[in-house]
Symmetry: C2
Subunit: 750 residues, 2 copies
């Protein structure tokens, strides 16, 4: 169970439980968009999952596997013995345990007193941060205070034996020990050849006096140094471990050899070590404070959890975003776990990007540029599937990789066979989702430069894909889209998924409007684009197909069918699965093939459409669909709850809106101690921010203006949302039903 | 600290110490020459090293690394929770702990009572064996006896996340769960493409009633099943886990697809499960007893450790020997650890083979055939180095691989640079060592068929290598051998290493004699060999070079110089390093370059020569060299002590002989709790048997007869050594100074 302070600035665990280590490893993970570090303990425990990822370093561990972010050599480890006994909380006894993540400064602090079977207790304090000032840097510090004479040994190193659950991504590499207790580890990824340089610089003080290492230890793929000394009562021992990581994917790496670059990284480690933990941490904390000043939502309410939930979301949104490099995206777990391999899904464009569009548009631009740089791969995918234009990969890794969704997943419980993973081929709505994000970015930022450089081309090429993708329904004389997967992934191989069809039409219509606009306003740009895409020659076809595309209409009851066969499927009692504490409990009773035949929806699908294409549907239609689908939805995706919360607010179901916001927040912060084992839920966190900004505050763009139609939860007195709209920093202040949007005097630049 | 029973049949640990897990993992390892299994615990501990190896399955984990035996998916794991608490000995409290390896039957038994923080104690008994009857089979059984009502959950699986210290050798593979609680894991090695099929069949009984699984768990590269149930006082819960492993390196795999083979393995797992642990174990134990009957040395003395030490050696010699396949050798750690990668060094031919020659000649023949099958690689190595004939690899893996010694090792403590590993190029005596083993095998077995098929060709081709390798010393008008490493690996790049030169001459002279003999006795065989090797055409050169080869003579004091410069090097006080509890302590003070310049010897070198070419030197010369070199020797190789023990016995230093035998035994069985972390010491174990057979019993071949010139340690009353000499099973009975060699009536066939 996690605790939080009354001001919503920290998450604390006071209950060390070795069965649920994954929870705080992930929710308290540190990161800065360049690197992510799971908050594992210095000491080892069975079941602990070390995790250290650098954005963009994709590699295939074997030829048959898709690229993923390698789990890099671990620098967190530090093994301490007191009187020859390894300090581990499963041994001896401990007291006053706490592990706390300070969201304001990004510092992780762990404290406890530990007593070996025979001896007095020893006080421990561990501090750690990932720098927001120097993206390559990780600081750690340990203080040990004995209450008796004891011998202490500390072994600390760089451990390259870690893997992605057994998959190894690095070659053997070179490890060295340098004078001054600095360790270095250089290696390259096995297939993509990305050079990785990791350094750890150590300094140990006994009562303020520097002590040198006692020895070193070299093992296969690991190197460590060892300190051994005798402490007396009242002694204070402090060890600082300043680590850094550089890779040849860095933009600062260019035209020099890896060794030269790694040598510079080594020098940087020496310099950082001389600065010391405190000075390095202060610079990082400063950068974090500027972030909070620029983006931090403030909620005045009687429920401090709500404030914490939004801060927690914003903390991780910063930690996951590779703002430094527009060749990189964001995975569903950010940089906090190996699951989903660091690939970019629609999660980023639909759930995470809106946050950055309205708070740090330069980050949104970087993430959209990543999609633009992926156009080649998208065109290749379209060609390979027999289509034109750009068919974006369902899962994207490095910009040149194209589609990287694995073809097969884990075994099916009921049949024992490996499950075919269809989304890579069938979940085609991703192409529209990206276009939708481009349009939203355009609307919010008015960044014409980006539209000219990237946005227009993305829109036009996506429309060419859809136009070629539509199938003529001979009987009906219309166009249809057969054999897809919509957002409801329980339903594979469906025809006319409403979300997919409506979004395809949106994409084609936006492209047609864009083409008209460019013809009138930017003929030379259009000429260039037309030379590249040939849209003009196909415009008539796009137009007639868009006009002929079947859009499943609302029935008499106002409900739009999720797909052609949904209404014909059997409805079952979902009560037990909806009350589940872990998601996916339905899979224990039904195989995927069986679920395909039930009126059960994994996550918002028709409702998702109503969220994304707000203007298309009346409030009555929205309400009818909400009433129909929500009870049939298991929210078995972390993307679902926040959308439902926002729509519930719109339909006036205010209690449900707050309840769903709360549930969305609890995906990571709630009592399920295993929900975050594989990492935090990036889309859910983006959704939590959207619940406040687009739900309770009711923000929306109206032409050139930002407007607010708030309806705050009853126990919220006020909320303050810093945003940047059309290049201007503003603050949205809402008190009760009153909204005020105030332009800030000086634009922030950080 | 290990204990042993008074009859020398078991090794027991009663002191669970999580810091020294490696000791019993290795010394209590199970194996049958086909597979080896480190005796890790069912539960997980930090620092525990799972190890599961199948002979001959070599693979390169990355292109830059040499082939090694992959650490296969683990089948030992079984995670038990009592009342929701993981059963681990660092948690709660435990009592009456014992872990015992029964050498007679090969069964590992672990027992303890464990009490969670809140509850009554629960009795546990774990049993495990690797079958000597079915080489593919591993049996395990766990019994749980609560003294109160408790909930129990057991999770057991096949865990493919294990690596060789981070190096992964298998592709992703396919895991399945079959009805009847059987798990399967199929994968292939990444580079060599060896298919691996592992199955684990489970059966759980509560008071004799079968209970089915409660669920399954699939993770990346792992699959497991889970049982959950409530126990009452006096309940007895037993779970059996019968596992097997098959690979496409098996001789029984031929001309069928891997899937078909793996399906047969799966069927075998179902059949084995139906037989059950007890029946399977009895068949295995029977096979072990036959082994002891055929080979077991029996010592009557007041010191039971001596009996234990020899049994322990014989236990592991059986466990390591791939008697089933003459394409496989034996690594320095057998199949008990990843160190040395499972490669065959001279350890096998010089230290392990003599045991099998005199006890199980068919195994010795298989191991020598492995060398014969490596001739192509040896010829390739000779060619690549500019020589003729067969230059055997210093390290050998799969038969076609040739030289697989890595070129670089770990970093040098003093310079930080990676150390060049020279033995692959310079430690050339391996070629003579193999010829020496062939001659010894011939002498002991009289196996003319092997000599015709393999032995003569190996001898002749080795001599052609040496003849081409010798260098003419222009000044001295003689032949020399420059720039080698002898058995004393502290000395790199030496000229005229006495061991190397004398052994080269032995090889050439043996070839010349062989050629003469074949010319007289087997002209048609000779014709065939000459067609292949062209020895006849080069015979005159071999003859003149052998005659002209410089053999460092004894000086006035009788001492032979280890190499040209040894006597000129500085002597230092070695006392502190000779008193070391861990070997290689000298490396903390001196880098390899510095040790090169000191009169310090790693292991027997000149003395090794006197052991291997016994007839060449008088007892006085032997004594002089023993007195000179032994004090300069650190025994920093596990190969050294037994040779010194045997020579001490010959020079009449009987107390030293026993002391050195004891120290050799203690390499694995002694108080150093870290000496065996990386595996048992195969050569030392072969040496322990040689200490008894060739040392204390003084066995030697005299023409067509086996003779004994015993000198037993003072506290030994008698010793009984079963041998097979020239195809005839015999028993050597020694009582005091009296030896009797008795032919057994019926030759054993197993």
């Amino acid at each position: 169970m996690l605790h939080y302070d009354n001001h919503g600035w920290s998450v604390t665990d006071t209950d060390f439980n070795v069965r649920y280590l994954g929870k705080t490893e992930a929710v308290m993970a540190l990161g800065n968009g360049y690197l992510g570090l799971r908050s594992t303990h210095e000491e080892d425990y069975p079941g602990q999952t070390r995790g250290f990822f650098v954005a963009g370093t994709f590699n295939r561990s074997t030829a048959e596997e898709v690229p993923e972010l390698p789990n890099l050599p671990d620098v967190v480890n530090m093994h301490i013995c007191i009187g020859g006994q390894p300090v581990r909380l499963e041994r001896g006894t401990y007291a006053v345990y706490s592990k706390r993540l300070d969201l304001r400064t990004g510092e992780l602090v762990r404290q406890f007193k530990w007593k070996p079977a025979d001896g007095k207790d020893v006080g421990f304090e561990f501090r750690r941060f990932v720098s927001q000032d120097d993206l390559h840097l990780i600081g750690a510090s340990v203080t040990i205070r004995p209450r008796d004479r004891v011998s202490v040994s500390i072994s600390s190193g760089i451990d390259g034996q870690v893997t992605n659950s057994g998959a190894m991504h690095l070659d053997r590499g070179v490890r060295r020990v340098w004078p001054g207790d600095v360790l270095s580890y250089r290696a390259a990824t096995t297939e993509s050849g990305v050079g990785i340089a990791i350094n750890s610089a150590h300094a140990l003080w006994l009562n303020g006096r520097r002590i040198d290492r006692s020895g070193i230890q070299i093992d296969r793929r690991s190197v460590s140094i060892r300190y051994a000394l005798e402490l007396s009562e009242n002694d204070v021992l402090t060890i600082e471990k300043i680590s850094n990581v550089y890779t040849t994917r860095d933009k600062t790496f260019a035209n020099i050899g890896f060794d030269e670059y790694a040598n510079a990284a080594l020098k940087a480690a020496f310099v950082a070590k001389d600065r010391g933990y405190d000075a390095l941490f202060m610079r990082s904390a400063d950068a974090f404070m500027r972030y909070w000043k620029r983006t931090g939502i403030e909620i005045d309410s009687d429920e401090p959890f709500d404030q914490l939930a939004v801060r927690f979301a914003q903390y991780h949104l910063k930690a996951m975003a590779p703002a430094h490099d527009d060749r990189m995206g964001i995975g569903p777990k950010g940089l906090t776990g190996e699951e989903y391999k660091g690939h970019s899904f629609w999660d980023t464009d639909t759930f995470v990007l809106p946050y950055f569009m309205l708070t740090m548009p330069e980050v949104a631009k970087s993430l959209l540029t990543y999609r633009y740089r992926g156009l080649d791969g998208a065109r290749r995918k379209a060609r390979e599937n027999g289509f034109s234009g750009a068919m974006y990969p369902w899962e994207a890794a490095w910009i040149g990789d194209g589609e990287v969704t694995p073809d097969f997943g884990e075994i099916d419980v009921t049949t024992g066979g490996a499950m075919r993973i269809w989304p890579g081929r069938l979940e085609q709505h991703i192409t529209s989702d990206i276009v939708c994000a481009v349009e939203e970015y355009d609307e919010i930022t008015g960044d014409e430069r980006f539209m000219e450089d990237c946005g227009y081309e993305m829109i036009l090429d996506a429309a060419l894909f859809w136009s070629s993708r539509l199938e003529r329904d001979e009987a009906g004389g219309r166009f249809v889209i057969r054999d897809v997967i919509g957002p409801d992934e329980y339903k594979e191989h469906v025809d006319n998924n409403a979300f997919t069809n409506y979004m395809a039409k949106f994409t084609m219509d936006l492209a047609l409007a864009t083409y008209q606009k460019l013809r009138e306003q930017k003929p030379s740009l259009l000429k260039k684009l037309d030379g590249r895409l040939g849209f003009g020659a196909q415009m008539a076809q796009v137009e007639s197909r868009s006009a002929g595309l079947y859009l499943p209409p609302p029935g008499e009851d106002g409900v739009i069918p999720e797909n052609d066969t949904y209404f014909g499927k059997k409805a079952i009692d979902l009560t037990k699965y909806r009350r589940q504490t872990h998601v996916r409990s339905i899979l224990r009773d039904y195989g995927p093939g069986q679920i395909n035949e039930l009126q059960v929806t994994k996550q918002a699908d028709v409702l998702m459409l109503m969220y994304m294409r707000r203007g298309l549907f009346s409030r009555d239609v929205l309400a009818a669909n909400y009433r129909y689908y929500e009870p049939r939805t298991l929210h078995d995706s972390s993307l679902s709850l926040s959308v439902h919360s926002i729509l519930a607010n719109r339909t006036g179901e205010f209690d449900a809106a707050y309840r769903l916001f709360r549930r969305a927040s609890e995906i990571d912060l709630g009592p399920d101690r295993e929900s975050s084992n594989h990492g935090i839920h990036a889309a859910a966190l983006g959704g939590v921010w959207q619940c406040v900004a687009y739900g309770f505050a009711g923000l929306r763009v109206d032409g050139e203006a930002l407007k607010a139609e708030p309806h705050l939860p009853a126990h919220w007195r006020s909320v303050r949302i810093p945003v940047t709209f059309r290049g201007t920093p503003m603050t949205v202040n809402i008190t009760g039903e009153t909204a005020e949007i105030q332009k800030d005097r000086v634009p922030d630049s950080d």
